[in-house]
Assembly symmetry: C2
Homo-oligomer: 328 residues x 2
Amino acid sequence: MRIVLDAMGTDHAPRTEVAGAIEALSELESDVEIVLVGDRDSIEAELSAYAEIPPGLTILHAPDRVTAADPPASVIRRKPDSSIVVGLKLHKAGDADAFVSGGSTGAVMATSLFTLRPLPGVDRLAIGTVLPTSAEPCLLLDAGANVDSKPHHLVQFAHLGNIFAQDMMGRETPRIGLLNIGEEPGKGNELSVETHRLLAAESGLNFVGNVEGRDIIRASCDVVVCDGFVGNALLKFYESVAAFIIQMLKKGLDVADTDVDLEDVFRVLDYSETGGAPLLGVDGVSIICHGASTPKAIRNALKVASRAVRSNMVEHSARELAAFIQES
Amino acid sequence: MRIVLDAMGTDHAPRTEVAGAIEALSELESDVEIVLVGDRDSIEAELSAYAEIPPGLTILHAPDRVTAADPPASVIRRKPDSSIVVGLKLHKAGDADAFVSGGSTGAVMATSLFTLRPLPGVDRLAIGTVLPTSAEPCLLLDAGANVDSKPHHLVQFAHLGNIFAQDMMGRETPRIGLLNIGEEPGKGNELSVETHRLLAAESGLNFVGNVEGRDIIRASCDVVVCDGFVGNALLKFYESVAAFIIQMLKKGLDVADTDVDLEDVFRVLDYSETGGAPLLGVDGVSIICHGASTPKAIRNALKVASRAVRSNMVEHSARELAAFIQES
């Protein structure tokens, strides 16, 4: 298995990517290779700090770099030699099985859409985010790939989330919830009322009904479906609260001195450490990481990519969607 | 000044309301009277536990009680003798200056709308919620009075929030932000793109542009405007994360043993203790409390009501809206 890692994506690229890749190779199965795509000189300079380079690590030169100033949709045309475009094309050509990047989310999304193409039955892509909860983690999608979603888009997201939860989170029959502001079927806005109706009629899903914001942390379901505007606002708010609390707690607290399992608190708060967010709905494995990722986050994202490949998640998604198209 | 307090609203009514009212009277100015509206016998039974009843406390008998099973819009017709209807009618008649309730949010909202009526220029009411942040608190509205808001509704909310922040939070020229998923004006869904355009054209507002979920806790503005679906989902999620963390921390942590100011953390997390949420846009003062309110929360809500009356918030709102109507 070969995973392409965009070496030029994060805020501290390529240092973070190089460190994350080396960590990942020491933990992943021996058949995993990682291709660092980006500026060869910069990558080699980072690698020179290591006494030993794992044999599974190679470099693919891509001289250009996508910046925040590049309009996402134009990257594929205007920056064909960028690490994002070169990396995704390698995946598309079948010379790599997955792509991971901490670069511009918009650029990775748009370029993934244009190169890998959507799976049949997918009208819109969704970003999935695995949120820690008080029990098992929960997948929230869409976390911001799209806004103004229609009910049938959310139904597609439910199917994509269903397969992700099975293949990537080990849930046999994932409980699918619809994010809403009330429990009863008639509650919510036009989008959620109609989506509820459609999801309740889906035979292939274990739809558990509406879930409220407060139910997420209580782990009342495995997959939470919502429009990307709500999902993104919610995640960014959560992230900032979490960062604020972690900062305050870490400032002066001696964990060894307390009875509280602070690691549990941090685990629940620190969702950014759970690794990259999968871009779901494309015909390939594309994992998006924070620009502020640490090597640990990159390592975790590479593990997510490797599990997605190993479990044939994309083929399963295609099959699930084909059944869904046939039914509807 | 006379404030009507629905004595039958919270989960532990009327005990919580009686305790909250007595606490409030000991702290508020001596011209404040509180009318407990509800079942006289139950209220008197609670009062009998107190050695001394403050002179400013009276009872208004209302034999009926609104339950969660009552459709909110039907309460005014079907339960005319309920504490909510009797209390709001007293306010409407001018025999009380404000109304506070921990009862069904929907019933308080609908009955407030039908009795007090909206202010001229208000098409939809909004629930405001004062969120603690890492610095000064911030008003978020709409927190769930409506869904599927149109751009001009959000502009009305901005004006209502502007006056609330001035009169109730002491901000001279409140910074108004629009909740969005990106900073640039063109970002977001159809609603936020058009609302941004309208708000940027408002001469009477200190509009600071889009704010993301992460900016709220950083206190980057005084008022955050959003659709009630997003606002409600966000608040419920926040509340559950906060409750979870507080619970974990309180379980085993000896605050005296640490250098961290845990009270600061709790202050940021425990937004439910900041008192009631004002229903903004009605021609009157109507404050909604959690069903799970503590006496402290009721006391704080009564203080919010008293400040709203003292500052003439409703008249200010009417004036602001009249100017806005004239301008547009």
